[in-house]
């Protein structure tokens, strides 16, 4: 009896004394469910892209504020940098400019020659790309993903898919654009693949980020592939994302094991992926691709309408572009993967 009274007393008193709203367990359940739902929505459905974009716009001033101390330090550091240092740097830059001037003169000549040769071959003109200089304002906190935020966005005509390049090579690719900033996924990120070519022998492959150790992998290449330590990988340009011929990485390890038909190839990125301050966002203009696709569509439409059987004049100038584009791109993009796989399939039989 007494015990019962005590219990009643406790139960009545407890809520008043420990007024805390819903119990922690209820809160835990509620917010866990909410987080899980959010994760599912964000990873599988694309509903939250707009929300993220708007929130990032809110966040941008904060990022600028957080960046301010470092910016201030660098500015004052520059201001107080010694006379001697500036002189040596000036001399070095002058020398570099001179050397590049010579190269540039030759480049103009080569460009002209290239245009002529291409017109003689009736080949598509190589794309000219636009570029924007951007500064890194935030490095992702997440140790698993290699992403950086730069201070140029939609307002500066940066498009999703643009390549990020520094003075030494490819850094990554723009994966999300916000109004005044954009997110660049580095080539060392696990989710980023980049079509490359071995500079020495023109062999095509696809390099994947390793996700840690700042390295790249060249998977699915047969054990007898012609790749050596020190080989340079450059972009092949067949994806329409990266301009061709940019340095990507250098092979630092090439290993074959008995139990695997694939070669184990590790490459180190050429560009200062982790220690850049400024990067260049290069995008191949969409318009040229779109005109090519439109030309292709109009070409398809013409045979369907029997009213105009003999109007080849209209379609002729645009067609070579479209036809040259369509057949070359998709197969070449697939071939690097397919070729080695075909080799690999035959290997186990050979060993047995």
């Amino acid at each position: 009896m007494m015990r019962g009274i005590h219990q009643n007393f406790d139960q009545q008193q407890a809520p008043a004394f420990f007024a805390r709203g819903p119990s922690p367990l209820a809160r835990l359940t509620f917010f866990t469910a909410l987080s899980l739902a959010l994760m599912a929505t964000d990873s599988r459905l694309q509903y939250l892209a707009n929300v993220r974009e708007n929130l990032m716009t809110l966040l941008h001033p904060l990022q600028v504020i957080a960046n301010a101390p470092l910016q201030f330090y660098q500015n004052t550091d520059e201001y107080f940098s010694t006379h001697h240092y500036l002189l040596t740097e000036n001399a070095r830059l002058k020398k570099q400019a001179l050397m590049q001037d010579i190269a540039l003169q030759r480049l103009n000549l080569l460009n002209l020659e290239n245009t002529n040769l291409r017109s003689m071959l009736d080949a598509k003109q190589s794309l000219t790309e636009t570029s924007t200089l951007a500064e890194i304002i935030h490095v992702g906190r997440d140790p698993f993903t290699k992403k950086i935020i730069v201070n140029r966005g939609k307002n500066h005509h940066v498009i999703t898919g643009a390549a990020a390049v520094d003075a030494k090579g490819v850094v990554g690719q723009v994966t999300r654009t916000y109004p005044s900033s954009s997110e660049v996924t580095l080539i060392t990120d696990k989710s980023l693949a980049i079509p490359v070519q071995i500079e020495r022998n023109g062999l095509r492959a696809i390099a994947f980020g390793h996700g840690r150790d700042n390295t790249l992998d060249l998977p699915y290449l047969p054990a007898n592939v012609d790749i050596k330590r020190g080989d340079k990988l450059v972009t092949s340009g067949i994806d329409g994302v990266y301009p061709a011929g940019l340095a990507v990485a250098t092979v630092i390890e090439m290993r074959t094991t008995q139990d695997s038909p694939f070669a184990h190839i590790v490459c180190a990125p050429t560009a200062g992926v982790e220690n850049d301050k400024q990067i260049l966002l290069v995008s191949i203009p969409k318009i040229e691709l779109e005109t090519a696709i439109e030309a292709l569509n109009s070409e398809k439409a013409i045979p369907a309408s029997p009213a105009r059987p003999a109007t080849p004049n209209n379609s002729v100038p645009t067609n070579p572009d479209a036809q040259a584009k369509k057949p070359t791109q998709p197969p070449s993009a697939e071939s690097p993967v397919k070729k080695p796989l075909a080799n690999v399939e035959s290997r186990p039989h050979a060993q047995q």
């Binding site: 007024a19 805390r20 709203g21 922690p24 367990l25 809160r27 835990l28 917010f31 866990t32 909410l34 987080s35 899980l36 739902a37 959010l38 994760m39 929505t41 964000d42 990873s43 939250l48 993220r52 929130l55 990032m56 966040l59 904060l62 990022q63 504020i65 957080a66 960046n67 101390p69 470092l70 890194i136 304002i137 935030h138 490095v139 992702g140 906190r141 997440d142 140790p143 698993f144 993903t145 992403k147 935020i149 999300r176 997110e183 696990k190 996700g211 840690r212 982790e274 220690n275």
Partner: protein
């Protein structure tokens, strides 16, 4: 009084968020403690009525946004971690500072473990033991703050 405290809670959470947004790089990036979680845990001990699981979840969302990861990862990790802080809050404030230190350290590890599991589901690989360094630097920061006079014990009735 209450308003004053709320203001300092919001201000410290904001400061922690700015700390996360700093342009960290290199070794500092691997060592960077989880400022947000530390501040949250401190307020959970000091002011459990003003700062609770919901606050942690909300701040987790902002951290998710800042890291550019999938929405809800940090939110979930913070929710679960702060839950364990909340249910032991009464005992925790009576603990000696060493006991408190151990408990807070295990909470920091727990949040990192949850994130690791979530990342593993998303297909990422474990990036080596240096992944857990932020927990150590975090607990060091906590100890420094306590040594400098931050009161993590029972809140006095005046506040």
């Amino acid at each position: 009084m209450r308003n004053n405290k709320l203001r300092s809670i919001y201000f410290s959470l904001f400061a922690a968020f700015i700390c996360i947004l700093f342009p960290w790089s290199g070794i500092a990036l691997t060592l960077r403690p989880d400022f947000m979680l530390l501040v949250l845990l401190f307020w959970l001990l000091r002011a459990p009525n003003q700062c609770s699981v919901g606050t942690a979840w909300f701040m987790g969302l902002w951290v998710d946004l800042a890291t550019g990861g999938i929405f809800g990862q940090y939110a979930l990790a913070y929710t679960v971690t702060t839950f364990f802080a909340v249910i032991y809050q009464r005992r925790l404030v009576l603990f000696s500072s060493t006991q408190q230190l151990v408990y807070v350290f295990s909470l920091l590890l727990l949040s990192q473990l949850i994130l690791l599991v979530l990342k593993a589901f998303a297909g990422h690989e474990f990036s080596g033991w240096s992944y857990f360094l932020p927990s150590f630097s975090g607990i060091l920061l906590w100890q420094i703050a306590v040594t400098l006079g931050l009161n993590t014990g029972r809140p006095s009735h005046g506040n």
